[in-house]
Each structure stands twice: as C-alpha cells, then as structure tokens.
C-alpha cells in the first residue's frame, strides 16, 4: 500500500438525453439529500436563494391550448474552459485532471465573481448558515462537507462517490484501478442513479464501453472540424449539442436534442 498504484486518467462526462427527461425532479431530490444541501424552505425559495445543484428548467412552447412543456435539467457543466475559474482571486475553483471543475470550500472567500461569470448559473452562494431540523441531522451524508455561510458551492459530479469507488478498489480489494474495476463498483452520481428514465448518463469519456463515450466522440469531432477551419462537411442529423456552445466553454456535459414526433404548430 505504500507505493501509489498507477492511476488511469479519467475524464468524466455526462450525457443528458432530453428526449427521455420527463421533468419528474427525482434527480433534484436525490442531489439534495446526497450532497447535504440545506432545505429550500418557502422563505429561501421566495428570496430566490434556493440551492439546486441540479435544477429542471421548465419552458412552455406554443399558445394555449396547443401547448407543450419542455424540460431541461441543468447542472454544473464542468467546462474545460470554465469562465468561473480564472476570475477567482484565490483559486478556490480550479480544474482537476479528471475533467472535473472542483471547488475548494476552504479557500473560498465569497466574492461571488465565479457565480457571475458562470453562463449556466449553476453556482450557489450560502447566504445563510445551513440549518437542518434536529430529527434530520442523522440523514446528512458524512462523506460531504457542510458548507458554512459565505462560500460558493455547486455540483461536483458526486466526487465523493468517485473517490469512494476508487478507495474501495484500491484499499479494500487491493485491485488495480482501471475502467473495468471502477465500473464494477457501480458508482454513479446521485442524480443519474435516481433518474427513472435513464435520461442522465454518466461515465468516463475515454472508456469505449461507457454509455457516454460515443456521444463525446461525436461532439469533439464537430468541434475539431470548426477549429481546423474546414467548411462543415455535411449536415448530418446529430442530436448532440452543448449548452451555449458559442461561449467556447467546452462543457463536459452533453445534451441530446428532443425528438419531437408531434411538434407544436407555430402560429396555430
């Protein structure tokens, strides 16, 4: 155990299939309890200071009665080129080598600049000291820090689960850390685990057998085309896109367009 085992270079990613999302909010609840988020009481919600590391945005399309609800789950996009990172004066948020955008609560001084510079608005400031009712104290997750007031927080892709899986493989099973042993640990972020329709898929982008692999291949390929200044070859009907692609943030979260069998008639 003294010599560290060679680690594989993970690059985590998530694929959100909007065609499957029903807007049920199970992911929101799962995230809330997994990550020790303070309870969004009515007061907090009305102050617009609710914590939702993952949130379901709901938009209406069309005019009544010809109307459809659209859902899009938005969580931290773990951008490769994260706008939140360079603006932090104390390096409280930075990029680790697993493709994750991580937050160091201890360094955070609460300038809120990162939240301002996040185009997806997925960073949350602790306006109040978090409190839970006495009877809920025991449901808090011991693997996750409770953030004091005055610091920023946001989705970590449930990094505690990734770490726990790694530790299990390395320390308990004395195994070698690779894609297969990791996968056997069957870890997933709480939201992906809770999603009843498998709209949220999580995995290693480099692992050819992971559910997200080929979507990232496709997305990166399209980006490459752009960067090598080649004219777009052929407009193949791809569902893959990233949020606010023109910002150049290169998120590690990919969205799949909704396939709409019965689109809302415009102007009806």
């Amino acid at each position: 155990m003294t010599t560290p085992k060679p680690r594989i270079d993970h690059k985590w990613g998530m694929v959100v299939d909007l065609d499957r999302c029903t807007g049920c909010q199970a992911c929101v609840v799962a995230c809330q309890s997994e990550n020790n988020l303070p309870i969004n009481t009515k007061d907090v919600f009305l102050q617009r200071r609710a914590y939702e590391w993952i949130r379901i945005e709901r938009y209406w399309e069309g005019e009544f009665p010809n109307v459809k609800a659209r859902f899009i789950p938005i969580m931290c996009q773990h951008c490769e080129n994260a706008p939140c990172e360079p603006v932090c004066p104390v390096f409280a948020t930075y990029h680790n080598d697993e493709g994750l955008n991580v937050q160091v609560y201890n360094r955070c001084i609460g300038t809120r600049y990162c939240a301002n510079n996040c185009p997806y608005q997925v960073r949350f400031f602790n306006y109040w000291e978090p409190v839970w009712p006495e009877r809920m104290r025991h449901q808090l997750n011991p693997d996750v820090t409770i953030r004091s007031r005055g610091v920023m927080e946001r989705c970590s892709f449930c990094i505690q689960r990734i770490r726990r899986a790694e530790l299990t493989v390395e320390r308990q099973e004395q195994g070698k850390l690779d894609h297969n042993t990791m996968k056997e640990r069957n870890f997933l972020p709480a939201c992906a685990m809770a999603c009843p329709t498998n709209a949220l898929n999580f995995g290693d982008q480099g692992d050819a057998s992971s559910p997200v692999h080929h979507y990232f291949e496709e997305a990166n390929h399209r980006l490459e085309e752009r960067h090598h200044r080649t004219e777009r070859t052929e407009e193949h009907p791809s569902r893959v896109y990233r949020l606010l692609e023109e910002m150049g943030t290169k998120p590690n979260v990919i969205y799949l367009k909704k396939v709409d069998m019965f689109p809302v008639k415009k102007g009806a």
């Binding site: 080129n81 706008p83 360079p86 752009r226 200044r229 004219e231 407009e235 023109e246 910002m247 150049g248």
Partner: protein, 468 residues
Amino acid sequence: MAAGEHHSEGMWVFPAPEAVTGDMAEKAAGMPKAIARALVVTGILFGLGIAGFVMRALDDGFGAHGPWGYYAAIFMFLFMVTGAAPLAAVAFRFTKSHWRRPMSRVSELFALLGVLNVIMFIPLMIVLPSIKNPEVGVEELEIRRSIWFETPIGAPLAWDFLGILFLAICSLAILWLSAMPDMAEGRLSATGFRRRLYSLLAGRWYGTKRQWTIQKVGLGLLGAFYFMTLVFVQFTVASDYAMSLVAGWKDSIFPPLFTLTSFQSSLGLILLALFIMRRWGGYEQYIGVSAFWSASKILLGLTLLWAYHTFAFLITFWYGRLEIEQNVLKYFFFEAYGGAFAANLFFSFILPFLILLWNPVRKTDWGPTLAGLSALSGAFIFNLKTFVGAFNAGDVYAYFFEFVPGPTWPDLWDVFMVIGGLGAAAFIYIAATRLIPILSVWETKEGAKYQKMDTLVRGRYLVLAKPE
C-alpha cells in the same frame, strides 16, 4: 530654474508684426523650384492612382467588395488624417494655447482635402454590400449587423456620404472664416488672379471690432460643431466599412480607437509639415521650437492613449475566449495580419513613445517630427490592416466570423491606387499653399503682442498673456 536667459535657442520666436504681412504674401506668391518639382512628382502619382482605379474597375467591376479593400484602406487613411487635421487648429484655439499659432493654418488647410475625400468616397458607396441579405441561406442573417439596425432610408451609404460631405463643407467654412483677415490684407498687396481671389474671399472684411468678435465666436462654434460631427462620422464610417463587414465582430472600442488614431496621426502630419516649412521653407523666424515642444506633449499623451485603448481592446477579447472574439484576434492581430499589427504597434506606440520619452529630444524640432512621422506610418498600417482585412473577411451575412482566412496581398493596381491616393492629397495640399498663406498672419501678429520677455526676481522669463 537657473537664472538668466535660460530658454534655449529658437524656443520662442518673436516675429515683428509689421513685417509679417509682406513676407507672407511674398512667400505665397512665389513658386520655388522645390515646390514645382514636388507638384510634378505628386501629379504623376495622382495620375498613376487614377490609372490604378480604372484598371481595378475594369478588372473586377463594382460587384464584390473584396477587391476594393486597398482602395477603402487608402480612402480611410486620407479621411482619417485629413479629417482630423483641422481639429488641431480648432482645439488649441479653444484652449487658447499660444504655441498653436504657427500650426493653425497648416492644419486648417487640410480642409481642402475634404473635397478629395468626398470624391473618393463615391465608389465605396457602390461596393458596400447591402444591409439586407439578398438570399438568406442556412445559418445566415436576414440583415447583417450594423449600427443602422432597421436601416432608415438610404442607410448607410447616403448617411455616410452626407457626413463626409458635411465635414468637407464645415472645414472649408472654418478655413474661410479663419483666413478672412489674411485675405483682406492680401488683397491690398497681391496682383492679378490672386488679388481677385482674395477680394472675393475676404468679402467685406474691414477688421472692425464687431467683425473680429463674430469671427472668433464663429470659429469657436464651427469648431465645436466640426469636432462633434467628425467624431460621429468617424464612428459611422469606421463601423460601416470595418466592423459590420466582419460577421459578429462587436467591439465598442473600435470607433474610439479609430478616432484616437486619427488625432495622433494628424498631429504627426502637421508636425511633419511644420518641420519642412521650418527647415526648408524659410519660416524659421515664425515657427519656434515651442510649437514642437508643446505639441510633443500632446502627441505623447495621444500615443499613450492609443496604446491604452488597444490594450483595453486586446485584453477584453483575449480574456473572453468567445469563439468569435478569438477569431477576430487571430485574423486582425495575431495570425493573418499579425505582422501588420506588430508594425502598427511599433510605429504607433513603441517608436514614438521611445522618442518622446526624452525631454531633450522633445525640445528639438526633429524629435517630435520623427515621432509624428512614425505615428503617421502607424496609422497607415492600421488602416491597411483593418480595412483590407474587413473587406476580405468572407460572408458578411454569416451568423459569426467562423473561418479565419489568410491575408490579402495587394496587386499592381492596389499599389497604384495607394500611392496615387497619397500623391493626390499631397498635390492638392501643395498647390493650395501657393494660393493661401500657410501661416496665419493675424494669429502670428496677435501672438507677437501677447508674449514678451520680462524679469522675475533674478531671471529673464517668458510672459504669456491670456485674455479672457
């Protein structure tokens, strides 16, 4: 400061008011060999320019705007420099700076080039692509981004043209009003054609107190008006012919940067003209080093401001990392026109800054001139890079500037047009100096009265009067 006659030789000049009029009239009427030779050379260049223009029109027609990049660049350079040149007279007359006196007519005479600007602008009106997209394709906009949004009637061509025309008229009015007292004196001594011209221009000028008041107020009002219009027209023209031709380039500091470059380069041009007059034109007793010394401070300030604005632009685009902004940086600043930008930075900032940094150098006539010449070249490269680049940046109706092309090199006709434009401007200016005295007679006389040497404690110092 040390006691005694401490002001350096030639710093301030004390022309005798009585001798100025005759001397000026003599200088304006004569035709020295050097000037005749200059007129011939610039005339030939002018001809070459016209030939280049005709060939370009025959080769490419007026359909696409791409081939006209170099023409636009030389027009913009002339418009930038000659449009801003009269401001030097206007601004420093407004601040009641004494050292402006030798350079105010030099700067106002550039008003005559306004006519050239108007004529040269007409082909550009034809080649500018329409704001409304004629055929809307995939990922294209219905109207391209422009400062005219919903396109009022005639925008942008007619409005830009009107602006340039108005500037030409307004600057001519300033020139006329300011030259009127000199014309009135000139009609007494001149002969023949000049006498008729001077009488015509001087009108009923008799130098009454009321006329002087009207002239001064008129110059102030026209100047303020000219200043504001110029800044506005530079904003519209620069945006229409550069920014809105590069799809998605949104850069609010570009018009101020253009204006700033114009101030800097036009002051440089005026210093160059003053230097030539002082060294070889026999105006040494009228143009003191103080004009260069004081102008050099302004030039230094403008140079620093130029660097500051450029930096403000670069850091904002560089930090943002938006794809469009990265592409603009690649195209205009680092890859395609990277060399041009380096040269621009060197001539507009580094060289003038290194020259103007030194007090002893600024207290000469050649130091500020050298810096001015450098700023002028910098502005030339700035225009070439910006407008040639913008005219060849691909689809103007695209959603954004996605594919960065390489630089566009000039062909023979482009070279002809560029040197022809410069030649035409020089030709008109030099020809004008034969008719209108290049030194403002009344301002020189007025200045001579407002300054004297006097004793304070133990030293002799210059005394400057500032009437309210």
